[in-house]
């Protein structure tokens, strides 16, 4: 994303719309990538509530995949994931491997 020049910004650099941070993608910060395994998921949504970056997509109360545009790869979701029969539904893998 190209930064705006001063001529493109509103006077005083006022922010004119709410929630505009969504246009700023923080996914490039990630060093570790969470991988979601649907077959081990019990739909507890703990990953969703504990995600500091609102990077877990949930639709109609059902968990979807990660939003890699925003996930910073902290790994809270993988640690908190209860999984199924001892098998975690979220595992962390190194980026670029």
């Amino acid at each position: 994303m190209k930064p705006k020049g001063w001529k493109d910004l509103p006077p005083g650099s006022v922010v004119l719309e709410g929630g505009s941070a969504a246009k700023f993608k923080t996914g490039s910060w990630r060093a570790f990538r969470p991988i979601w395994k649907d077959e081990n998921c019990i739909q507890c949504l703990f990953c969703w509530i504990y995600c500091p970056d609102m990077a877990v997509k949930v639709k109609d109360g059902k968990r979807g995949d990660f939003d890699y545009d925003y996930c910073k790869g902290c790994g809270i979701c993988a640690l908190e994931c209860p999984g199924k029969k001892g098998q975690k539904a979220i595992v962390m893998t190194e980026e670029g491997k």
Partner: protein
């Protein structure tokens, strides 16, 4: 306006604090904010003291807030919000506004325990109808981990570095939750993001009470606590289970413990994963470790007694 507190129902709501904010990876503060804001359907107005949360949620051109939000200086989040709340009451009286609006102030421990303390105390004493939520990460993390009056005993920070001269901070943290309770306000509580339902319930309850309310929430900071990026929730849960951060509420002077740990864990379980307490585990600092444990036991016993007699 009660919101059903199940994750399934909550997940259907629109985010009031969006992604794209620039808090560190694994920060506890956005989790605190998101739970606090999703707990209610009321329109809210936020006043935010300077701190990590403020500087990284509204970096030029962008804002992560989907609700009216005012950035205030370090010392006056509560004072600013008192003014807004007073104006709202006046507009209501004049018949220019009829919507039910709720007011929330957010501040870190530096902006609440230290710099913003007098404005907070004033707002609580004047009885403004608002909730002040302090996210306590135990130091001035935003400016580079300087000690605050919320920093626990023995913690290593850049202004009380552990070494051959001192073993980290020499003073105990002050108990702000109790200080706020001493203002005789209708509702004071302590919460943790790990127990999200307990926290959301407290916010909901606070919204329904008229007058000043205060909620103190622990918010792990992996940079300042020198821990892993993935353990914010784990550490806040350990803080509750070791009774370092007991979950309780004081409603109209009556103390109630909302979550009692099944088994009270030794404080070392909470200290061990944190690099800021690493030096406490060397033989010469054994006495300090016992002192920390004794202090926590004493406070917990006191709290149990208060909850029993009330």
């Amino acid at each position: 306006m009660a919101t059903t507190l199940t994750l399934k129902e909550l997940s259907k709501k629109e985010d009031r604090f969006t992604h794209g904010h620039r808090m560190c990876s694994g920060c506890g503060a956005p989790i605190v904010v998101k739970i606090a804001l999703m707990a209610t359907d009321y329109p809210v107005v936020i006043s935010n003291a300077t701190g990590c949360l403020e500087v990284s949620s509204c970096i030029s051109e962008f804002t992560a807030w989907n609700v009216p939000w005012i950035h205030t200086a370090f010392e006056n989040a509560a004072a600013t919000l008192s003014g807004v709340e007073t104006m709202y009451r006046s507009l209501k009286k004049q018949g220019k506004m009829d919507r039910e609006v709720k007011f929330i102030a957010f501040g870190g421990d530096g902006g609440t325990y230290d710099i913003g303390f007098q404005s907070l105390s004033g707002a609580m004493e004047r009885g403004h109808d608002m909730i002040y939520i302090c996210y306590d990460n135990g130091a001035y993390m935003n400016t580079g981990i300087q000690r605050s009056s919320a920093t626990p005993l023995g913690a290593d920070t850049t202004t009380c570095p552990a070494g051959s001269v001192i073993p980290g901070k020499l003073r105990s943290r002050k108990n702000l939750t109790k200080i706020m309770a001493a203002h005789n306000i209708p509702y004071v509580a302590q919460a943790s993001p790990s127990h999200w339902q307990d926290f959301a319930k407290k916010v909901q309850k606070a919204h329904e009470i008229k007058g000043p309310k205060f909620i103190n929430v622990i918010a792990p900071c992996n940079r300042g606590w020198r821990s892993k990026t993935n353990d914010a929730i784990l550490l806040s849960r350990l803080a509750v289970n070791t009774c370092y951060w007991p979950l309780y509420e004081i409603e109209n002077g009556t103390t109630k413990i909302t979550v009692t740990p099944k088994q009270k864990l030794p404080i070392v379980d909470f200290l061990k994963p944190q690099g800021r307490f690493k030096h406490l585990f060397s033989p010469e600092n054994e006495g300090l470790l016992t002192q920390v444990q004794d202090e926590i036991d004493r406070e917990w016993e006191k709290l149990l007694k208060e909850a029993k007699t009330d």
